[in-house]
Each structure stands twice: as structure tokens, then as C-alpha cells.
């Protein structure tokens, strides 16, 4: 049932952690599951298929030898890039919305980290820019937020 070349490949790839399976068997099953669930995650824009895809790649990686792990990782990165590229080509609006949501989730944490780490000049200017952009867009900017950014500005000014 399986093609001859695959049987040869399976035989030459060595035993996996599961002794009944070869490295290529485990890699094909794990990568197949990853491919299915990463496409599902992109189509449904939900978290659980991404979790299953990631965990199947991890489980496959644990069970195979190190060259197979590297091949699987490179193939997974390439597949993710292809799926992401296709998604942005076919559904640009949805892709832009998801990117904006992700950016909105990460930017405050990064700004806070930069501020706390003492990378003040950069952090403050970023905070000011984002505050200015939001007020220019007409988004509500709270008084507390303005006070916080201005207070950071004052505290960062070197004493004369």
C-alpha cells in the first residue's frame, strides 16, 4: 500500500522513541497533524487548533532523532510562512484585523517592560507617540494615562 521509496526511507531512518515506529513514521504523522491544525487555526482564527498543532510538533520532536527534529522544525516554519502568506493574500482584511489585535495585545506589555527596564527615552517617546496617535484618531485617552506618560517624562529628565 505504501510506496517503495517511503518503505526504504522508513527502514533507513532508524527506530524512534516508540520502538515499533521508525523516525520517518513519527515525523510524517506529527507533521501531518501539525499541518492540518495550523491550517484550521488560520481558518478559524481560534486558539485551540494552534495549541494542538504546537503540541503535536513537540510530541513528534520528543519521539524522533535530532536530524528528524531539525527537518520537522524547518518544514513547520516554512509551512507556517506559506499558510500565513496565503492567508494575507486571500483575506487581507481579516489578516490586518488579526495583526492589529495581536499588536494591541503586545504593545502595552512591551512599553511597560521598556519603561520598567529603564530604557526610558525610547519607552517614553513610544508611549507619547502612541498616545498622540490615539488622540489624533479620536480614540478616548484617559486623563490618568496622560498623567502617567507625563510623569514618566518628568522622572526621566536628568537633574541640572
Amino acid at each position: 500500500m505504501l510506496p517503495e521509496w517511503y518503505i526504504n526511507l522508513s527502514r533507513s531512518s532508524g527506530r524512534a522513541f516508540l520502538s515499533a515506529w521508525s523516525n520517518s513514521d513519527v515525523a510524517v504523522v506529527a507533521f501531518g497533524a501539525f499541518a492540518v491544525f495550523i491550517v484550521l487555526a488560520t481558518m478559524l482564527a481560534s486558539d485551540w487548533p494552534f495549541d494542538v498543532a504546537f503540541l503535536s510538533l513537540v510530541a513528534g520532536g520528543i519521539l524522533v532523532s535530532w536530524p528528524a527534529m531539525i527537518v520537522m522544525t524547518v518544514a513547520a516554519v516554512v509551512l507556517t510562512l506559506v499558510v500565513g502568506g496565503l492567508h494575507s493574500l486571500l483575506l487581507p482584511g481579516r489578516n490586518a484585523r488579526i495583526s492589529a489585535e495581536a499588536k494591541a495585545r503586545v504593545t502595552p506589555a512591551l512599553e511597560e517592560f521598556a519603561r520598567d527596564a529603564g530604557m526610558s527615552a525610547k519607552g517614553r517617546s513610544r508611549a507619547r507617540i502612541s498616545l498622540g496617535a490615539r488622540s489624533a484618531e479620536g480614540s478616548p485617552v484617559s486623563e490618568a494615562e496622560v498623567k502617567r506618560v507625563l510623569a514618566d517624562d518628568d522622572s526621566g529628565t536628568p537633574p541640572r
Partner: protein, 108 residues
């Protein structure tokens, strides 16, 4: 009943020793743990789930290194588990901030 967790820990310790012997370079082990902690901290900026994923990716780096050095599957799995747990615990943002502040403090 109480023997089982202890036996489990003993097994993990034994396999960790095999992994450490296979790597045979404590600097590399520490470097991998620090890398895993940084990945966990970066993931932790997004959320707890991503912190766990960052720690797992760091653990997988340990896994591939142990396998490449001839440590075997079980040793690689034990090393991965240890590095993942360590990275998840250490790789919190406040800890990273402390390190950054200490590094930026002027010496002398």
C-alpha cells in the same frame, strides 16, 4: 505510595545526569537554560500560556542538543522537562527586569 514520586524524581535525576554527561560542558547547559528563560519571559509578556510555550521551545532546544551529543531519548526527555520547568519558573518578567537593571547599574 510515597515511594513512587521519589522514585520518579530519582529517575529524572539519573537521566539528567546522563544528559549532562553527554553535553559535557556546563557553560553550554547554563546557556541553554538562560535562552529558555528568555524565551519564556518574552512569551510571558503576551500571557501565561505563551510563557509556557516559550519555556517548552527552550526545553526542545535542550532536547535536540542532548540527542545530538548522543544522550539518548530518555535523557533528552528528562533534560527537556527540567529545562522547561526551570525556564517557566525563572523566566518571569520581574526577574528579567532585575537582571537588566543590575547590568545597567554603573560599576565602581
Amino acid at each position: 505510595m510515597m515511594d513512587q514520586p521519589l522514585e520518579f524524581l530519582e529517575t529524572v535525576h539519573r537521566y539528567w545526569n546522563i544528559a549532562a554527561t553527554a553535553i559535557d560542558n556546563s557553560a553550554m547547559t547554563v546557556a541553554i537554560i538562560i535562552t529558555a528563560a528568555i524565551l519564556a519571559a518574552v512569551g510571558g509578556m503576551v500571557g501565561m500560556r505563551m510563557r509556557l510555550y516559550g519555556a517548552i521551545v527552550g526545553g526542545m532546544i535542550m532536547n535536540v542538543v542532548v540527542k545530538a551529543m548522543g544522550g539518548g531519548f530518555a535523557a533528552a526527555l528528562a533534560a527537556m522537562a527540567v529545562v522547561t520547568v526551570l525556564a517557566f519558573a525563572v523566566g518571569s518578567t520581574p526577574f528579567l527586569l532585575q537582571v537588566l537593571k543590575r547590568a545597567r547599574r554603573p560599576r565602581g
